[in-house]
């Protein structure tokens, strides 16, 4: 252990800017001392989420904001390297709000109620990217979104937007395992091929080169039972016109409009919710924290049976982290975008 490299917020991105290295400054500081009841976590892998943009944007957000000069907040997996807490020993693997840095001081007794609390991973599955991948919050988000909010039933026709994204790549696999027919919407032929090969999708719609409405008519002649939406915007409006009776739309995200200021329309075809006696519902993975063990057990069982694949897309090196997050908004990732900061311990 030498010093602690950190990415700190340098300036808030403008609404039309993609997150990039220029918004952050890379600093080195001494590793902090831990107090009684705390432990020091060495970051191994960092996750990414579109929600992280709202930590640093200026607009309304359901998340706490980060000030200029603060370490960028983010979730990661680490190994305990020093501990003054009886429940955490050196070598334990923990998923926590580590921030974008090599070392973080964790206080299990003082958790921010507005972020996912830290969790020790019992019997972690190697490689440890699984803890932020299909066996982590991406998998759990798809799991609860589809099964709990979407009330998935075998035989349902399920459509997922941003199907090649982190949560989308889990959703395709889980819906297929649940006995559904799964259609993914993604941008470009490469992603469309990938979601069918790697992420469980039976069929793909390339929204950049195909008419989404026409393709939905072809692929879902009886309508869409569950739409798991990560995107919003025009794609949501189009899918609204292809609902089956009693359809469920699970609102997971809205990357198409999330950071636009003004000028965009809402889903005007929401009126079809009446024609189809359908439902549109938002959810938030934090609310399911008391049920994570349930998701974990089922996801692991599928993983162990070879039904669920850890669809991760990994960059290497903390120094790339701003670009790693930025890639979510450039749409260049296939799968759950992570950054390996240090090698998995033996």
């Amino acid at each position: 252990m030498t010093s602690n490299r950190q990415w700190r917020l340098k300036r808030h991105p403008e609404p039309d800017e993609v997150i990039a290295t220029e918004h952050f400054s890379f600093a080195e500081t001494p590793i902090a001392d831990i107090g009684e009841g705390e432990f020091l976590l060495k970051t191994l892998v960092l996750g990414t989420s579109p929600a992280q943009r709202s930590y640093i944007s200026k607009g309304l957000s359901m998340h706490d904001k980060i000030a200029v000069g603060d370490v960028m907040r983010g979730r990661g997996t680490g190994v305990v390297v020093q501990s003054r807490h009886p429940d955490y020993a050196e070598g334990d693997i923990v998923v926590a709000s580590t921030g974008w840095q090599d070392y973080s001081v964790q206080s299990p007794g003082h958790q921010n109620p507005n972020v996912l609390s830290l969790q020790k991973v019992i019997d972690p599955v190697r490689p440890l990217t699984t803890t932020l991948g299909v066996l982590g919050s991406a998998g759990a988000t798809a799991y609860f979104g589809l099964l709990d909010v979407g009330k998935l039933r075998p035989g349902d026709t399920v459509v997922v937007s941003a199907a090649a994204g982190g949560i989308g790549s889990c959703a395709g696999q889980i819906a297929r395992i649940a006995g559904c027919r799964v259609i993914g919407i993604a941008g470009g032929p490469a992603k469309c091929a990938w979601i069918k090969e790697a992420a469980g999708y039976h069929a793909a719609i390339d929204y950049k080169n195909e008419d989404v409405g026409d393709r939905l008519s072809e692929l879902c002649p009886n309508g869409v039972d569950v739409f798991f939406d990560n995107v919003g915007g025009e794609i949501l409006d189009t899918v609204l016109m292809h609902l089956a009776l009693n359809a469920r739309i699970v609102i997971c995200g809205f990357i198409a409009t999330d950071y636009k200021e003004g000028g965009y329309s809402g889903p005007r075809n929401y009126v079809n919710l009446v024609r189809k006696r359908a439902r549109m519902e938002g959810f938030f993975i934090f609310d399911y924290r008391t049920r994570f063990a349930e998701a974990d057990a089922r996801l692991r069982a599928w993983f162990d049976a070879g039904k669920l694949v850890n669809t991760v897309d990994i960059d290497n090196g903390l120094e790339h982290m701003p670009e790693t997050l930025g890639s979510l908004f450039r749409g260049t990732n296939c799968g759950i975008k992570l950054c390996q900061v240090a090698p998995d311990p033996d």
Copy 2:
């Protein structure tokens, strides 16, 4: 019995036109003969519904269309005056798709599955306007929308748009009976006074003269648990910003945008469904036909106990029927808009 007066569709209204007499022609024809298994119903009262506009509009609709020259479709209450059906006797009171005419031939064995089927009213409550009022489909729509779709709970803060409308005036009363705090949104001081005096509302917001968002902040400091929306448009978008956690938005109608062609935005604040883990759901009263007896029993019990008032707004004379329907779109009615075609029989 002499002849049968009828209103027939003369021309389809343009998108920006309010429904008026000029869209219909008033004709007189002989009363039709009934066949085996049919009965002749003399119309006593006709109901109105915003959905009737979509019967005669040119755009997409979930309803069957009416051709030029056909009798205008509509639901009404009548008395059986001739019968060749064993289950229907002279003097029976029946709610049915009578159309806008004095006499209709009813075939209980051949019901259109796309409209509410005919129903004999057992022990009708006088005056018979109740059968199309709080004890009819207006009451049942508010009942199922609030209790079943909206999952109303005592203590909930409930907001209703078009609160002075037919369904709105029932919704206010039912939500109050269910132990909720009920706020109505209506246009103008007269309607706002009326909903508090006659329709159960604890408070009113005059959207024509007040800032709806500011008033919601004042009246619902802890947010809106259930929004029963008859309107859509800007009011829906505003209420979306005032949801409580786990709020339910019941989409009953969207008179603000229903017949606009292009140019309007959808509810862009639907993104708040995620922030508030909330739900927006459409429903259709036809789907509840097997449960009408349940609603009827409870609505009658409340009515008999004096808790529920028959909030009707009655025109007199079949010759006024186009204007009676048009008044829904001019927003001039307070309560359930009906037209008395013939006096209640003794």
